[in-house]
Amino acid sequence: MAEKLTNQIRRLRFDNNEMTQQALADKVGVTRQTIIAIEQGGYTPSLVLGMKIAWVFNKTVEEVFRLEC
């Protein structure tokens, strides 16, 4: 069974005054490449990073990330 972690980061960035990937990266303490990789589903972030991203958008982790089975 293949599990896939999807996310709403791209939509949330646009909903938050079109926040750039670099701005989000600076806020959570990673590189822009990592934000791109997460948005594209190429990298699964750690729990800590996932929580930091959710906090930036004032959302819960479940509202940002979803595990699809």
Binding site: R13, F14, E18, T20, Q21, Q22, A25, D26, G29, V30, T31, R32, Q33, T34, I36, A37, E39, Q40, G42, Y43, P45, S46, L49
Partner: protein
């Protein structure tokens, strides 16, 4: 492309050129002057030393964060790949010689440092190559700004 990728590219290119030119030189010398003097062609492996200039040539990336959790994960996987490849090569060469020469066979002592050096070069090469492959897998270098 970040600094680590640029450094890896330099290492892959310089080591590729070094190994290729050394192999060609040893082959040419073998037909001209024969072994063991043909091993002098392996001096071309010194070209790979230019890979050591990578930290000087490539400056730090812009932005406050240089290395994050994804970079650590990729580097860890690359280190494992490099070690595995070099250990497999070292083991294969040692066992290969043993199998070819037999239990009571002998080899030139010059072969031993060559095997050791080959394992080291393989480790660094596979490490750098793994970094390029692992970063390139999700095509992040061509991502959008917004």
């Amino acid at each position: 492309m970040n600094r680590i990728q640029k450094m890896s590219w330099l290492i892959v290119i310089t080591q590729g050129i070094a190994v290729l030119s050394a192999a060609i030189a040893v082959t040419v010398f073998y037909y001209k002057i024969g072994f063991p003097r043909a091993w002098a062609g392996s001096a071309f492996l010194a070209i790979s030393g230019f890979g050591g200039l990578a930290p000087v040539l490539f400056r730090k990336d812009p932005g406050p964060v240089q290395f994050d959790e994804r970079d650590v994960a990729i580097n860890s996987a690359a280190v494992k790949n490099g070690f595995t490849a070099s250990y497999l090569l070292f083991g294969s060469l040692c066992m290969g010689i043993w199998m070819i020469k037999g239990i009571r066979g002998t080899i030139d002592v010059n072969v031993l440092p060559m095997i050791w050096m080959l394992a080291g070069i393989t480790c660094i090469f596979v490490h750098a190559l793994s970094i390029l492959i692992l970063y390139g897998r999700d095509k992040t270098s061509e991502g959008e700004t917004k």
